[in-house]
């Protein structure tokens, strides 16, 4: 099945960030920029922790936040600064910018670094376990 705006190879029935750092980054960016929070949430393990909101969220609360946050289609750019893999766990560092629109329609740009922990499941798929923006949140002040 094809997802609008998503050109990278991604199976919604078998989500996998893969073991390749550049592919991970491309999948992450494209699903973030799809504006579909439920789709983006597929990249996270059920018990994964996301700190994009400024608080550690997991499960249903994480999904609800992604739906609300991504609906207005904030636009993510990200490049990998470092990646280390130790068996079934990986640490990825990225520099990112998120462009969105403020309450008065003015453009808002947020820039920063983010640390991501990925885990390789027993089924051979890599998924997000923890994300943590260094500034503490992806939300504008």
């Amino acid at each position: 099945m094809s997802i609008p705006g998503v050109t990278v190879d991604f199976d919604v029935n078998n989500p996998d960030l893969t073991g390749d750092t550049d592919t991970q980054n491309e999948i992450f960016i494209q699903l973030f920029n799809s504006g579909d929070g439920a789709l983006f949430d597929l990249l996270y393990r059920d018990d994964a922790i996301s700190n994009f909101s400024g608080s550690p969220l997991t499960g249903e609360a994480r999904l609800a936040f992604f739906k609300e946050f991504l609906a207005p289609k904030p636009f993510l750019k990200a490049e990998v600064t470092h990646a280390y893999v130790a068996g079934d766990v990986a640490l990825i560092g990225v520099r990112f910018s998120v462009d969105s629109t403020g309450p008065d329609g003015e453009p808002v740009r947020l820039e920063g670094s983010c640390t991501d922990v990925l885990r390789l499941g027993e089924d051979g798929r890599w998924l997000m376990a923890i994300d943590r923006p260094v500034a503490g949140t992806l939300l504008p002040e």
Partner: protein, 125 residues
């Protein structure tokens, strides 16, 4: 000396104790077999090279102070953000103070104990 723990909140203090004891075997026992350490930015070490680097570094009798600032635990994986400093000596024997904010990824083993999988002491820059 074994300083492993099943309580991730205690891991950093126990690591500090192992490090300050100068016991390289105790320090190395706190890492998974596949662990990666990045004690010099951009130069990840694993396996025997990682273990040897611990021995070499501890030979200068450095003293560490480390305090976790944040911890995120999900199942058998944890991310710790740690403020640390190490008082050591440089190659000429002059006092040197190293500081940083570490990004530590831990895995819980089958024995229930937490170990470093990725140790990135300059991870937040």
């Amino acid at each position: 000396m074994s300083l492993l723990t099943n309580d991730v909140e205690k891991h950093t203090a126990l690591y500090e104790a192992a490090f300050n004891s100068g016991d390289a075997d105790a320090v190395n026992a706190m890492y998974t077999d596949e662990a990666v350490a990045v004690w010099e930015p951009g130069r990840p070490l694993s396996g025997e090279a990682r273990k040897a680097a611990v021995k070499e570094f501890l030979a200068r009798k450095p003293k560490m102070s480390a305090k976790p600032r944040q911890s995120f635990v999900t199942g058998d994986t944890a991310l710790l953000i740690v403020d640390w400093s190490i008082a050591t000596v440089d190659d000429d024997g002059a006092p040197e103070l190293l500081t940083g904010v570490g990004v530590d990824v831990l895995r819980k083993g089958a024995d229930g104990n937490w170990r470093y999988a990725i140790d990135d002491p300059y991870g937040e820059q």
